[in-house]
């Protein structure tokens, strides 16, 4: 099964202890695509501005990402600038320029409306909802969001959660939206908001997944040289959803393997700036690190 992902395409500026980069290709939909492409065909739904460099479009095409629903609008591409201090666990946002995101209305090609596997990467929940109404009969819908929408568009987000199968959140977002500190309690509360499965990303501490039928808890791949964690969560989601879409099943064993691929893919992402590591990644690299990952845990 192929995947459709709605999200942002951005130009990211990042400061970190190991260096700095300006206007790198980034955004939730791009990071997601870069790992999901290792498993299946990825259709990207997003907007860019007139200033968006052609080399980035060429790059995405070369990586096999379907760009027929990538709109080029009047105005400037979405820009994000952030800084990581020593602990590298959370970014301090220095600047956000929404640009073309402000007037964006996602469009999908007629032939894309029948895609069964949909990932609503972090973007305004109204846009996520709009995209969903365009799809014919999606079989698996996952949604990611962020603290900004939890705070400012809580009601829209809660309405949307009733329509999705998997809610993907980091630990802070899960705590904030649920009002529960304990992550198991948080997952159970979020489950009651609608999604059948709750996937909580814990950064360097791995991930936790909850449904009425199972609870999984995985550590992360220990990485010594963390360069830039930007996009790690989307890279995780890309490999997770990519594997599920390819497998075409939602058995517990399949979900566990998808989680492992997600964790392994994210561990590559953080080893370089932006897409440095994930853009050259092969399935073979993933498989090799998966073997390592298995050996270091229970």
């Amino acid at each position: 099964m192929s995947i459709l992902v709605l999200g942002t395409v951005a130009l990211d500026t990042v400061k970190a202890p190991s260096g700095a980069r300006k206007d790198m290709l980034g955004g939730s939909a791009v990071h997601f695509s870069m790992s999901a492409r290792l498993f299946t065909e990825v259709n990207l739904v997003a907007v860019i501005g007139r200033d968006f460099p052609q080399k980035h479009i060429d790059f995405l095409e070369k990586k096999g990402i379907i760009l027929s629903s990538l709109i080029k609008s009047e105005g400037k591409t979405f820009k994000w600038a952030g800084e990581y201090k020593d602990d590298l666990n959370s970014a301090l946002t220095l600047n956000t320029e929404l640009g073309v995101l402000l007037d964006f209305l996602p469009k999908v090609r007629e032939e894309q409306r029948r895609i069964k596997c949909v990932f609503l990467a972090n973007i305004d929940p109204d846009l996520q909802d709009h995209l969903l109404t365009r799809m014919r009969s999606p079989g698996l819908i996952a949604l990611d969001s962020m603290n900004y929408w939890i705070k400012h568009k809580r009601e829209a987000l809660l309405r949307l959660l009733k329509k999705v199968d998997i809610y993907v959140a980091n630990d802070r977002e899960a705590r904030e939206l649920s009002g529960e500190t304990n992550l198991i309690k948080a997952a159970k509360r979020l489950r009651r908001f609608g999604p059948k499965m709750i996937l909580i990303k814990k950064g360097e501490h791995g991930a936790l997944m909850y449904s009425d039928k199972f609870l999984f808890s995985f550590p992360a791949c220990p990485i010594e040289k963390v360069i830039d964690p930007t996009g790690a969560g989307d890279t995780f989601a890309g490999a997770f959803m990519g594997y599920l879409a390819k497998a075409g099943r939602l058995e517990e064993k399949t979900i566990k393997k998808a989680l492992a691929y997600g964790i392994v893919a994210a561990s590559f992402n953080i080893e370089g700036f932006g897409l440095d590591r994930t853009s050259c990644l092969t399935r073979h690299d993933l498989e090799n690190r998966l073997v390592q990952f298995r050996s270091l845990t229970l």
Copy 2:
């Protein structure tokens, strides 16, 4: 192999969101013993005051703990009072009364000096060092400490680390003593201080173990109803060391299983105040939860 543990026997007063308890039996050596006893004979080296209730001594004896090196001194038993807020991850110390700890010099019986497996639970590093000089030829020495000693007796602690095989620390202590934020870097730096193995406890996020030959990372058992985490680290260490002592081997497979027992034992500890859960625990309970634990991870 039997185990000898040096540490504190305390009267703990705990406030937590689910209630409060006054003067419960606690202390690092007691929590350690309560899980280690499930695997092997435990010899406790500690001090209590004249005020120490006989019922606690009877209780420890009934649990099979060897108390021949538990000294009763003039003065009051060590008391600790702490509070846990909503997140239950770290205690706020409300009060500490050192009492008989101030003049304590650990003594071991002649027949205990040949015990091969030694755990130096959290207590003044000078006392830990003194105990070590009393042992004839220990085969496996592990040491736990705390932020207070890292700050105030750093040199003594560093000298001591050269003599031990396993340094057990929580993530904050590992970061503080090593000066490294990344836990893999922290473990590598701590390795250079002397101990062949570094075991970092991460509370709700599991544990990480490093040596020149291996790196293990385990998640924790997800527990929804955390009542009182006091002593979880010592309970972890007790089951970990207890299993190693019983196995009498230090193969990677053995160490992995010991880690799993440690994590499972700690998950029981936090489900009740003080020793409520661990005092009734059986090997059968541990085995059952170990099966559950395996099913929720990779």
